[in-house]
């Protein structure tokens, strides 16, 4: 059996705040189990504050888990267990902030290689030209500065920089959200093609369900730090089985069932029972008393007491 690139087991992150006599605990990520295979993209959607970026940072070994473990290629990773250099990469939302404005595109792109060492400057620049070519930018871009490029070109540079060390796993955190609609699809297609060629595993984090389901193989929906639903992407083109997934699809599908529209805002999280129950039009008494766990329902796993009914509605 194939070893997953990322194997997260019962991983959780919580932060404490406030003075020691009145500590508040915030659960950014609640016990989450997720595997990502090589060549597979998991699309992670959720509203702001749902913990999707924290989960991405966990998978990069940048935050320590307060419970559970994240394994990269069977090895434990975290701030105290540094992952092998160059094997994990990230592409962030805003390429203006991700690229150093004082470095040329060429030096930005080959910077990760100089950190790894082992290569001469000429070799590094040859490599930079090769990856820039992969992302559709010709050799003339090597000497240019970020301010001379358009948003789409900058994001291509950021992807080239993420790709140059041939990582096994890449996190795309809102990687296309800052781009215009007509350019967004160019970058999404690029990500799909590169993954096909290089076989890296990927976590594509976004609040935009439409863009995410277009690049992903499997989708994970997060609310208040917990996975609400996870399943093959086809499920999210049709009738997903969690009310929250269905509510998110109202904004993009013309035929979506508008009766799933949520009340209130994402700051309203129930502390007992189902975290969504205060906002969910489908909540019943059981949602208050019993917290739904992820259940295997054929196509995917859903954390909802009424998943079967939701899937039919």
């Amino acid at each position: 059996m194939n070893v997953p690139v990322i194997d997260a087991r019962y991983v959780a992150v919580s932060y404490t705040s406030g003075p020691f006599w009145d500590q508040q605990i915030t659960h950014a990520v609640r016990e989450t189990t997720l595997e990502i295979a090589a060549g597979e993209t998991i699309g992670l959607v959720g509203e702001s504050g749902s913990g999707k970026t924290t989960l991405g940072r966990l998978f990069l070994g940048l935050v320590s888990a307060s419970a559970g473990a994240v394994l990269f290629d069977r090895q434990l990773i975290g701030p105290r267990h540094r992952p092998p250099a160059g094997k994990l990469s990230v592409v962030l939302q805003n390429p203006e902030w991700a690229l150093n404005p004082r470095l040329t595109v060429g030096s930005s792109v080959c910077e990760p290689l100089s950190v790894l060492g082992a290569m001469s400057k000429a070799e590094r620049y040859a490599e930079a030209r090769r990856v820039l070519d992969l992302v559709g930018l010709d050799a003339s871009f090597v000497g240019r500065y970020p301010h001379e490029l358009s948003g789409g070109q900058r994001q291509r540079v950021a992807i080239a920089r993420a790709l140059i060390t041939e990582p096994r796993f890449i996190v795309f955190d809102e990687a296309v959200s800052a781009l215009d609609v007509s350019v967004q699809t160019q970058v999404l297609n690029l990500i799909k093609d590169l993954q096909h060629q290089h076989g890296f595993g990927a976590l594509f984090i976004s609040h935009d369900l439409a863009a995410t389901r277009y690049v992903a193989h499997r989708m994970a929906v997060m609310y208040a730090g917990a996975l609400m639903e996870i399943g093959p992407v086809e499920l999210f083109y049709g009738k997903a089985q969690h009310p929250y997934s269905r509510a998110l699809s109202i904004s993009i599908d013309e035929e979506a069932n508008a009766s799933f529209a949520l009340q209130g805002s994402s700051t309203e999280v129930a502390t007992d029972g189902c975290p969504l129950r205060l906002r969910c039009p489908w909540s019943i008494e059981r949602c208050h008393q019993e917290k739904p766990e992820l259940r295997d329902l054929g196509p995917g796993q859903t954390a909802c007491h009424r998943a079967e009914e939701v899937g039919r509605a």
Binding site: E47, S48, S150, G152, Q153, D180, V181, S182, V183, Q184, T185, Q186, L188, N189, K192, H207, D208, L209, A210, A211, R213, Y214, V233, E234, Y237, A247, L248, I250, S251, I252, D253, E254, A261, L262, G264, S265, S266, T267, R279
Partner: protein, 328 residues
């Protein structure tokens, strides 16, 4: 029919240290009373400039080069300051992208709402106004500061302030861009229901064609500082005529089948420094002919809507041209 907003060949340039940038390059639009118009375009297409020009809320470096804009029967670029103040205060309402920067962080919501209503302090009418925009807990909200509200609640407060004096036109510039996906629908539904109730016109600026199509009667698609296609939502969304609208609908994720590959529009949107010689979409257009490069298309009525395309009749009659658009 009298038009509430009428722009004719409106051309606006921004003077920057690096030269002039043309934001509007001869935009035409006509909005009847009580209708809702969605202006759709990518960043740099000129939709915000057109929307803000309706209240002459443009920065100091913006200059009108040509054309005219009439709002509520008055030419906004020619009336004096008093008339402009009256127009803004009594006839227009604005809702901006980020409610937190639209509200004064140092004043309680009640005071800000009262000022928007032209009063010294909040009263029963202020509470009623907040209830009207769907804020049930109005007692707490009136005494709260903006940072104590969630984004969705703050945007409702901004909407309440915008409609406080019963404007004839409500202009909303990306009112949901800074809000979470599940709140967006609530705010847009609120705007359209207020429009239906009060009979005011609604101008919604957005980059999402599908969202605008669901909430507005009319759609104006903007590209390169001009309105390239203008018609009812149904016409424009279901059966677009302009190659840009067609390409945009094919490129955006959301309507594809699982596993289907989308065809992006090649290249990037233009940044104009002067008048575009021909059609500004020509460099990216799969249906372009020589004429498109040299002759500016004029608005023509094709299949029930206005469009700026030399080949509009052909794209309607010959599906072959439409098919060509979807090739990469």
């Amino acid at each position: 029919m009298s038009m509430l907003v009428e722009a004719a060949d409106l051309t606006i340039e921004y003077v920057t240290p690096r030269g002039r940038v043309r934001a509007l390059d001869g935009a035409d639009i006509a909005l009847p009373t009580g209708a809702s118009l969605g202006l759709v375009g990518e960043s740099g297409s000129g939709k915000s400039t057109l929307g803000m020009a309706m209240g002459k809320l443009l920065p100091g470096n913006a200059h009108r080069v040509a054309g005219n804009l009439h709002v509520d029967g008055q030419s906004v670029f020619e009336i004096d300051d008093d008339a402009l103040t009256k127009l803004r205060r009594h006839r227009l309402g604005f809702v901006f992208q980020n409610p937190m920067s639209a509200l004064n962080p140092t004043a309680r919501i009640g005071l800000q709402v009262a000022h928007a209503m032209g009063k010294k302090r909040p009263d029963e009418q202020a509470s009623a106004l907040l209830r009207h925009v769907g804020l049930a807990d109005e007692g707490r909200i009136l005494t709260a500061y903006p940072h104590q509200l969630s984004g969705g609640m703050a945007q409702r407060v901004v909407v309440a302030m915008a409609i406080a004096r019963g404007p004839a036109i409500l202009i909303a510039d990306e009112p949901t861009a800074s809000l979470d996906a599940s709140i967006r629908g609530q705010i847009l539904d609120l705007l359209t229901s207020l429009k239906d109730e009060t009979g005011m016109a609604l101008v919604l600026l957005s980059h999402e064609l599908a969202v605008v199509a669901r909430h507005c009667d009319m759609i104006g698609v903007m590209y390169g500082g001009r309105v390239v296609e203008y018609g009812t939502s149904k016409q424009v969304f279901a059966d677009p005529v302009h190659p840009y609208t067609q390409a945009l609908l094919r490129a955006a994720p959301g309507r594809e089948r699982p596993g289907e590959r989308l065809s992006p529009i090649p290249g990037a949107p233009p940044v104009l420094t002067g008048p575009s010689a021909g059609c500004s979409f020509a460099p990216r257009c799969p249906a372009k002919i020589d004429l498109c490069r040299h002759v500016r298309p004029l608005p023509r009525s094709v299949a029930g809507r206005l469009t700026l395309c030399h080949r509009a009749e052909e794209t309607v009659d010959q599906p072959a041209v439409q098919e060509k658009v979807c090739e990469p």
